[in-house]
């Protein structure tokens, strides 16, 4: 598996009216091999942006991001190779609507890893069976419920055999009754030793699976600690207020 080190990363956005928005300010954060780190914080605090810098969907202005010691912001690093190793799951699933579930999963292994179709499909079917969706392989994503779509999205990322996984609020677009089926899959993944960095407000998941919880506000890491520490007695007032809000 892999180790993710985020060192002093800052990311600004320039708005249309020319003002600069500091979305992420000098954030450092380490996810050790096999660890699960959960980022929490109010909306707009830069959680997604931070997560997206890890696989290069956003390019940070300063700082460095090391994945297994390789600096992804180094000009000589092939960012595509990094992306092969780091899977990502989005809030809105982002499955490819024109492809069947199976083709969604096999696309990248075949195109990027140059796997044969047979091999890719066998693997996809195994993974689908693991998340209980083997019978949906030939359906289109739109025929699936939200929870099923998100499980397919997780499988799609896993099919690339990533060393680490990023999740950006994977359950927040789901109806309440579908959240559990997705969390169960994520929990299984966490227990299997996958390195995971995720943004989620499912405190039950954080308690059960997270090694560390990081609280972000206004682009900064305000506080971090074990789930027990963070939830039972947060040190900062902002974390207290936020947790009161959601617990």
């Amino acid at each position: 598996m892999a180790k993710i080190e985020i060192r002093n990363v800052s990311k600004d956005f320039e708005n249309n009216n020319g003002t600069i928005l500091h979305a992420v300010k000098n954030v450092s954060l380490t996810v050790n091999d096999g660890e699960v780190v959960v980022i929490i914080g109010p909306s707009g605090s830069g959680k997604s942006t931070l997560l997206r810098t890890v696989n290069g969907l956003e390019t940070a202005q300063s700082g460095s991001i090391l994945i297994d010691g390789i600096d992804i912001m180094d000009k000589d690093t092939d960012i595509r190779q990094v992306r092969e190793e780091v899977g990502m799951v989005f809030q809105s699933f982002n499955l490819f609507p024109h492809l069947s579930v199976l083709d969604n999963i096999t696309l990248a292994p075949m195109k990027v890893r140059k796997m044969s179709r047979n091999e890719a499909e066998d693997k996809a079917m195994d993974l689908l069976a693991m998340v209980g969706l083997a019978d949906k392989a030939h359906q289109k994503p739109t025929q699936l419920s939200g929870g099923q779509q998100q499980r397919v999205a997780i499988v799609r990322a896993l099919a690339m055999e990533p060393k680490a996984m990023l999740f950006d609020e994977p359950t927040s677009a789901l109806d309440p009754e579908m959240i559990k089926e997705v969390l169960d899959v994520m929990l299984k993944l966490a227990k299997s030793g996958m390195t995971m960095l995720l943004v989620t407000h499912e405190m039950g998941f954080a308690r059960a699976a997270a090694d560390k919880v990081v609280f972000m506000a206004d682009g900064e890491v305000v506080e971090s600690g074990t789930p027990e520490e963070m939830f039972a007695n947060p040190k900062t007032q902002r974390a207290k207020d936020f947790l009161n809000h959601i617990l």
Binding site: E84, S92, R156, S172, I179, H201, R207
Partner: protein, 292 residues
């Protein structure tokens, strides 16, 4: 309700309603992944492609189509000396009209794809070139462009008149097609590109496996519309000494001076052709939708 298998913090006796409220407060707006409804793009003539379920349009399509056929048949049967002769003469222009229409639409799709991709590109220069092309074409009357390109091509290279006409039509329609395809590409949610990128696909893999297939689905109705416009506007090539339907009609007028009668037949032929075509495009769309 969320997690029976996962340890629950003891102080969490919340109802689903309360939980949803909390969720709404905490969950960020997906800034990067705004979902858009599939876009329907129509550029030139309004959409006149009847679909099942659109009873009104289907009925008017039927009335117009059968009306036109009946009028044409009656004219030819009851006054064959005038109308049957006109019909026989002008109908020989159909191959030229079809040839121009079909090849020009293919050319326009090709040019349109290139300019559509170009104007969606982040590269400033490419973007500007595509923008200027579109502005030029939009700002000059089709007939003027057609004649200019025809003579320009003719003086530069030696090609057959019909080839020059097809190229000219392709260039003129390519600009509109480019706008259609640009709008189509932009209607694909950003999350699609992000998901593909995150999976390690290259830009071209993302374009050909993810963007293009979805764009085709979105733009096909609009391209069908352009096809129908092209069939009609191809009549402009009659001015370039190509024997299309209109040109044949004008030849017939110059021989017989039956101007009104001839133009009536020409109009009916075009009308029937475009109506058939619009129906075909409608069927194609329906099938496309059925196939998901």
């Amino acid at each position: 309700m969320v997690k029976d298998t996962i340890k629950q913090p003891p102080t969490l006796p919340k109802t689903e309603g309360e939980l949803m409220e909390i969720r709404n407060k905490v969950v960020s707006n997906p800034f990067h992944t705004t979902k858009k409804e599939p876009t329907v793009i129509s550029m030139t003539d309004g959409v006149l492609i009847p679909k099942k379920g659109n009873k009104h349009l289907v009925t008017s399509w039927r009335l117009t189509f059968f009306g036109a056929v009946v009028v044409l048949v009656c004219l030819c049967v009851f006054d064959p000396d005038t109308y049957w002769k006109i019909f026989k003469y002008t109908i020989t222009g159909i191959p030229t009209t079809f040839e121009c229409t079909i090849f020009a639409i293919l050319g326009a799709v090709l040019i349109g794809t290139i300019t559509g991709v170009g104007s969606s590109s982040k590269n400033r220069v490419v973007n500007q070139i595509c923008g200027i092309y579109v502005e030029l074409i939009r700002g000059i009357p089709l007939l003027v462009q057609l004649m200019f390109l025809y003579y320009a091509l003719g003086s530069l290279i030696h090609i057959e008149g019909i080839v020059a006409a097809i190229i000219a039509l392709s260039i003129c329609f390519g600009a509109y097609m480019g706008e259609i395809i640009r709008a189509g590409i932009q209607s694909i949610p950003k999350g699609q590109v992000e998901a593909a990128t995150a999976l390690g696909l290259s830009k071209s893999q993302t374009f050909f496996s993810v963007i293009l297939p979805q764009t085709i689905k979105v733009v096909l109705p609009a391209i069908g519309n352009e096809f129908i416009s092209m069939l009609k506007d191809s009549s402009l090539v009659s001015i370039l000494a190509l024997s299309d339907i209109l040109k044949r009609g004008r030849e017939y007028i110059s021989r017989t001076f039956l101007s009104l009668q001839t133009m009536l037949v020409v109009a009916l032929i075009y009308l029937i052709l475009t109506l058939i075509l619009s129906r075909l495009v409608g069927f194609m769309e329906e099938r496309l939708h059925k196939n998901g």
